[in-house]
Amino acid sequence: MSKQILILSQSHLEGTTDHVCQWMNHLRIPYLRVNGEDFFHFQNLDDLPGNNEVAAVWYRRKISSFPVKYSLKQTDFNTQYTLKRFLVDEFNGLHSLLFYTIDRHKWLNDPISEDNLNKLHVLSLARQCGISTPFTEVVTTKAAIMHLLDKGKELIVKPVSECIFLEDAEGGQYKMLTKTINNANLHLVPEKFFPSLVQEKIIKKFEIRTFYLDGACYSMAIFSQNNRKTKDDFRNYDNQRPNRTVPYKLPADLERKLDQLMKSLRFRTGSIDLMVDMQGNYHFLEINPEGQFGMVSYPCNYYLEKKLAELLHKNSSHEKEIHQ
């Protein structure tokens, strides 16, 4: 059987995968797309894609939602939630078997590193690469916050892990967003609290979203400053006045350091968030290895979906050569 490119994704809400697949079709690059939903049709472990058939892997998504709903006989809100968590863990346990059965070097991004990415660790790696990052601390007391504010820093609080969506009983939806803490709202902070990540607030001139692809940085500047509503985080989307998004070229020195950082994580693709302050200094914020790149590709006319298809092709041809 000839080796092929494996794309791990999900069947719904994945425009980026669809787009890359359409490029692969057009460029006549053979591939196998396995969606998380397909795991429900496999009969046994032998049906999972095997190392020998696979030349390169692009791991994009696991699954959007399970094709069947499961519930316990005596269901209440808590047990239902526990069950949901359990099923997610079960599914992940199966899905991540591939991380071990398929040789690690075939993966565009190291899957274990990708699935366990730690924001605090990434920040410290970035600093080791000589990239400037905002002052970051994890604190548990109001006193510690007061101490930091006294130093003249305004702070933001954001999760160490990922932002979550919450839903109330009426179906209202809430998204967790970056919040500012300053002397004016300090009184809302309790004396002691759950360990929380605080970061120096950078007054930004604009934000930068960089898509890193095999050593190259494709960057986009995002201007949201004029827009009161989107001042803290441009994801608080303002549809009436969308942010201006334009192509941007990072200084060569910073690109080199970002390349070093991505290589140290064994990532060949990923989305990098940066901020430019009023003085024009760059601040590294975070990496999303599976970040959406359509939002950078389209406004900047970068054709990243096509470039990614070509990269997969290059990797799989390389793999074939080695084994001939």
């Binding site: 201007f223 006045r241 192509p247 941007y248």
Partner: protein, 339 residues
């Protein structure tokens, strides 16, 4: 005149060349250098230009030039060999054959279905069924007016076939733009009669589009014909229904044969930058084109016949009244439809 295109917000601004010169100068120079360069007398005017840019959110002021804000890459490519299709609908033709399957497997994005004559909605539904399961994104329906075409019924139709994103109803009792499906789908009723492709190829400023797709494609290809394919009323495959050459019949031709035929691509590379008149026109990359009706039918680089714009003095006139165009109008047999 010059054109300032905001491809993100899909707007464009028609500006005097002097304004454009100042804006281009400002790409490399500070505001104060610009003031010095153009002289104290022009200070207020230049300030006005800058305010305009700030107001329209086309730029911002900073304490330094930012060379990192690089120019947009204007390359263009698509993952489909055919991006847009026009079908001149004919009840006698079978649209489920292998040609159509092969064609829509190419990931065609946009389809226009033109009905010159009255057709029942059942027939239209039958045709729309063909595109279920394809990656087609956008269908425009052109229908002949019939008093059964009530908005309610059309609303049901577009909800059943959500790929239908625009409707044009010709030969209507009145000109009347409407909207259905919670305002998301325009239905334009026009009184004029669209009974053949002779009505096509009109250039109007209201047709101009300022977006990334058209602007970048226009740098390299003919936006009207590049990767476009049409099936005419009799089932013949053409670049566009109005062009004379055909590349076989849908019953006995494969899509691959058409794509392999060099003649099929003859117009694809004719850019606006090479067309007489258009090459000096500020609208050239927001305008579409027409190679079927030309001012000089002998010259494929000639300006579209149905354009009344004169880029050299910036004025629009009624193209049908231009005496220099009369020979071509008669030659194409357009005399009747313009009266």
């Amino acid at each position: 005149m010059s054109l300032l295109c905001d491809l993100q917000m899909r707007r464009f601004y028609h500006i005097p060349n002097d304004t454009a010169d100042v804006l281009i100068f400002l790409q490399q120079h500070s505001i104060s250098e610009c003031m010095t360069h153009y002289g104290e007398d022009n200070r207020k005017t230049i300030k006005g230009y800058i305010d305009f840019i700030l107001n329209k959110e086309l730029g911002f002021t900073d304490n330094q030039l930012l060379p990192e804000l690089t120019p947009l890459d204007l390359s263009w490519d698509r993952y489909s060999d055919i991006t847009n299709v026009i079908i001149e609908y004919n009840e006698e033709i079978n649209y489920t054959g292998s040609f159509f399957r092969e064609l829509f497997d190419l990931h065609v994005q946009g389809l226009e279905i033109r009905c010159y004559r009255k057709t029942t909605l059942d027939k239209i539904r039958e045709l729309l069924e063909v595109f279920n399961g394809t990656t087609l994104k956008f269908i425009k329906l052109v229908l002949a007016y019939d008093d059964t075409l009530e908005l309610q019924i059309l609303d049901k139709l577009v909800k059943q076939y959500p790929r239908v994103k625009a409707l044009l109803i010709h030969s209507s009792p009145a000109d009347n733009p409407e909207k259905i499906f919670e305002g998301s789908v325009p239905v334009i009723f026009v009184s004029s009669n669209i009974n053949s492709c002779l009505a096509c190829g009109e250039i109007r400023s209201s047709y101009f589009i300022s977006n990334m797709e058209l602007f970048t494609e226009s740098q390299h290809y003919n936006t009207c014909l590049n990767r476009k394919l049409s099936i005419d009323l009799n089932g013949y495959i053409r670049n566009c229904p109005s062009l004379p050459d055909n590349f076989g019949h849908v019953m006995d031709t494969s899509v691959q044969e058409v794509l392999d035929n060099k003649a099929f691509h003859k117009y694809a590379k004719i850019r606006k930058d090479e067309i007489a008149g258009c090459k000096d026109c500020e609208f050239r990359h927001v305008c579409t084109d027409c190679r079927a009706y030309l001012e000089n039918p002998q010259d494929i680089y000639s300006k579209p016949l149905k354009c009344g714009y004169d880029p050299y003095n910036g004025t629009w006139e009624d193209w049908t009244k231009n005496p220099l165009k009369h020979a071509a109008i008669a030659g194409y047999g357009l005399g009747e439809i313009i009266n």
